[in-house]
């Protein structure tokens, strides 16, 4: 089984691409979703409160994502710190999930900060989803109802697309002009072919 990492900067359309792969019968591990769920686990919550203060959680013990984002997207050290807390838990869940899906030709691991977390070595192949910065900015502003400055702050914490593209094996352009499904099918067929070699 190939382990394929799927990444892309904020607003590139990673989830949409993953949904197409899922329709083709490929299991997808959504690292960001798993990470979000981890925040409610007592051990992680304790570490986060200890590092960033009680203000990132509500009185009911629910994470307030905006409060955490405000801290980590404006401070690189804070971002590294949160990754240090969350990353082991995500990896643990991933390995468990991997065992459950061992029979497939390949699986996908979707992660926004795959390169930033130095996870590229964990995968046989990397798929990078790209879109022009203007398009991504617009998508995130509409999706999350955020002002341009907040989206730009998040974008700055990610590596430039160019650098990520160079380190990737496949590139999917999701600029709203180029058809997405044919690109996914092409990669899917190549991976199946490689697996059968």
């Amino acid at each position: 089984m190939f382990k394929v990492g799927l990444t892309g900067n904020i607003g590139s359309g990673k989830t949409l691409v993953c949904q197409i792969f899922e329709t083709l019968g490929i299991p997808v591990f959504y690292a960001d979703r798993v990470a979000r769920n981890l925040y409610s686990e007592p051990e992680v919550r304790g570490q986060v409160i200890e590092t960033f203060g009680a203000g990132v959680y509500s009185s009911e013990g629910q994470l307030i994502p905006q409060n955490l984002a405000r801290i980590v997207f404006n401070d690189k050290t804070a971002l590294q710190e949160i990754n240090r807390i969350i990353h082991p838990g995500v990896m643990r869940k991933y390995l468990q999930w991997l065992e459950e899906n061992a029979d497939y030709d390949y699986i996908l691991h979707e992660a926004a900060i795959l390169f930033e977390s130095n996870l590229q070595h964990e995968f046989d192949y990397i798929i990078m989803v790209t879109a022009p910065e203007k398009v991504r900015l617009q998508r995130v502003m509409e999706r999350d109802a955020l002002p341009e400055s907040s989206v730009m702050a998040r974008m700055k914490n990610q590596w430039p697309e160019k650098e990520k593209v160079q380190k990737s094996d496949f590139v999917i352009i999701n600029d709203g002009i180029k058809f997405l499904i044919p690109q996914v099918l092409e990669i899917h067929n190549q991976l199946i072919e490689k697996k059968s070699e």
Partner: protein
């Protein structure tokens, strides 16, 4: 000597001519006064003479019996001959009494000819006409012995009022509601007439640069003036003007019922629309339905499907979507 004689003769002739001209000038006013007096006497003599005249008089029906409606009159003009002296004729012409004959339907004997047709004998009109024209009743002759008219039973019905509006609003303002008071009014007419009227319109209301509520009284348009009665003939129109703004909502693309089964990417689309702020609480996602337009499309030969908004709540307007076309996969 000869020259002197000629000169004297010429002088005498000129003097005589001046005297003649002066005399003619003094005769002109006298002549005019005489002519005027002669004319006056001629007119007085003529006016005191008796004349036999014939006038075409319009028939004006009055006091239509309660519960009846005059639909048509076969005879709308009747020729009336009578004798009168010139003084009376002059008076009749000046006072306009020779324009029409008033016929009091509440007071005159009528004979039913058919279901809705009635006849009035002109004989019965002689007395009131003689009194009106100040002439001898026995000398009035009508061109026809009777007058025919159609009267139907008066029917009534309540109809809705539609305000006729031509409104221009300031940016981001629109018409939230229109209240017409009363919203229904009663019309009276023949059964045929009222059956042909589904609603009544007001006169057109033209307003520009609206950004606040308006209230006005406006007249109703009578589609059958003269025969259709409207009561009241005016209504109050209240225009509720509200501010609207653009909203957006993510709506799932409904692929149920499509064969073969397909899955669209993305599975949702964002709808952008204008609506009044006060309606926002009533808005729900399930009030919208967006489907791929697969009419006359071979799913195996296209890469994208255009989306179509099948339903959206009435409180939304100018609805657009992004994306408006999606890629899809046929799921085996």
């Amino acid at each position: 000597m000869e020259i002197n004689k000629k000169s004297n003769l010429g002088k005498t002739f000129k003097e005589s001519e001046i005297r003649e001209t002066a005399k003619r000038k003094s005769d002109t006013p006298v002549f005019l006064i005489c002519l005027l007096l002669a004319t006056l006497f001629w007119i007085l003599i003529k006016l005191s003479a008796d004349y036999s005249v014939t006038y075409p008089l319009k028939i004006k029906y009055e006091h239509v019996p309660e519960g009846k409606l005059l639909v048509a009159s076969e005879d709308s003009v009747v020729n009336v001959s009578f004798k009168s002296d010139g003084y009376n004729l002059l008076d009749l012409l000046i006072t306009g009494k020779l324009k029409y004959i008033p016929v009091n339907l509440g007071d005159i004997k009528m004979e039913r000819i058919k279901s809705n047709s009635y006849a009035i004998f002109t004989q019965g009109l002689k007395e009131p006409l003689a009194s009106r024209l100040n002439v001898n009743e026995s000398e009035i002759i009508f061109s026809t012995p009777d007058l025919e008219l159609n009267m139907e039973d008066l029917a009534s019905r309540k109809v809705s009022i539609i305000p006729k509006l031509n409104l221009q609003f300031k940016s981001q303002y629109g018409l939230y509601a229109v209240n017409v008071i009363p919203d229904k009014i009663t019309i009276w007419g023949s059964q045929n007439q009222i059956d042909s009227i589904a609603e009544l319109q007001t006169n057109q209301i033209n307003l520009n640069d609206l950004d606040a509520n308006q209230e006005m009284t406006v007249a109703l348009q009578n589609p059958l003036p003269g025969s259709l009665r409207i009561d009241p003939d005016r209504v109050k129109v209240k225009l509720i003007v509200e501010k609207y703004t653009e909203f957006s909502l993510k709506v799932p693309i409904d692929v149920s019922g499509i064969s073969p089964i397909i899955r669209t990417f993305p599975a949702t689309t964002t709808l952008y629309f204008n609506m009044f702020l006060k309606d926002y609480k009533e808005l729900k996602t399930n009030q919208f339905k967006v489907v791929p337009d697969i009419k006359n499309i071979d799913l195996r030969s296209v890469k994208t499907l255009n989306l179509r908004i099948i339903t959206h709540p009435k409180i939304t307007r100018d609805v657009r979507m992004d994306p408006y076309s999606v890629e899809f996969i046929i799921v085996n």
